[in-house]
């Protein structure tokens, strides 16, 4: 039960989401590194090749974290609740004759709009204001040989260090 609660909290917490994504990326980069080592590369060269092959991990992590956060059931429920609140406010505002009830409708609309704005603002990160230099599609037809390693992103920055032993 405690594990489930911790996992749920981790999935909603921004840092928790990022940790989970980092763990997933780390596994992928480690596997790539192992693959390059098995093809005869040195550990350092394999790590470098794996990092290049993976791409800009920091940018991808930010993108995945944003998708993960907005698709969380709590966020979905919150968005639905705010829409419901807004519609209730509009209906009250339109059909009520009483001044105080109409005023309550205004309050509902204001709370719903403010809540939606806060949800939107909480999802913004510094990277939201940066323009990416990605290609239009992550799929590339490659006519080169099997062993060629394609460097996809010149701004390589991998914060995750693969934990491959030197053996």
């Amino acid at each position: 039960m405690q594990v489930a609660i911790t996992r749920l909290f981790r999935r909603f917490n921004r840092r928790g989401i990022e940790l989970e994504i980092e763990e997933e990326f780390c596994f992928h980069i480690e596997m790539l590194t192992q693959g390059y080592i098995s093809r005869g590369m040195s550990l350092e060269a394999a790590k470098d090749a794996a990092a290049k092959c993976f791409g800009d991990a920091e940018r991808i992590k930010t993108e995945c974290a944003e998708i993960s956060r907005r698709s969380h059931p709590f966020m979905r429920a919150m968005k639905s609740f705010l829409i419901l609140l807004f519609l209730t406010g509009v209906l009250v505002r339109l059909f009520s004759e009483d001044f105080y009830v109409r005023h309550a409708g205004d309050m509902l609309i204001a709370v719903a709009a403010l809540g939606r704005l806060l949800l939107y603002a909480s999802g913004l990160s510094p990277s939201s204001f940066l323009s990416g230099n990605e290609t239009s599609s992550p799929l590339i037809l490659d006519s080169a040989s099997r062993t060629r390693i394609v460097a996809y992103n010149e701004r390589k920055r991998i914060p995750i260090e693969p934990t491959i032993s030197d053996e």
Partner: protein, 110 residues
């Protein structure tokens, strides 16, 4: 095409992922490897770019994810196709066949 690299249209990666996951659940690395093995590296999927696509597909309900243990005893996140994903795969396959047929006809007449 001069440098041997050509971008493919958006949505193609989703189709390949759906097809790859049609038979068994897999982790991200496994999906990329399976695609590369199948197309014999004629088509290259950028490893990192796979993940935003996977997360978006999970958001749409086409796939679900679950942490498990990989073939080398490492903790890894496995993705599995949902019923909605299977329907989407059928729709995407039909769409791809239509587009492919249309482009082939144009190329044959031109």
């Amino acid at each position: 095409m001069a440098n041997g690299r050509t971008d493919l249209m958006q949505g193609t990666l989703e189709l390949l992922i759906l097809k790859t996951l049609a038979h068994e659940s897999m982790h991200g690395y496994g999906i990329v490897q399976r695609i590369h093995e199948t197309v014999e590296d004629l088509l290259k999927v950028e490893d990192g770019s796979l993940y935003p696509a996977l997360y978006r597909m999970e958001e749409r309900g086409w796939i679900t994810s679950e942490w498990g243990v990989s073939e080398n005893n490492r903790r890894a996140k496995f993705y599995k196709l949902t019923r909605a994903g299977r329907k989407q795969l059928d729709a995407e396959c039909a769409n791809w066949a239509r587009i492919s047929k249309a482009i082939t006809r144009i190329l044959q007449t031109a």
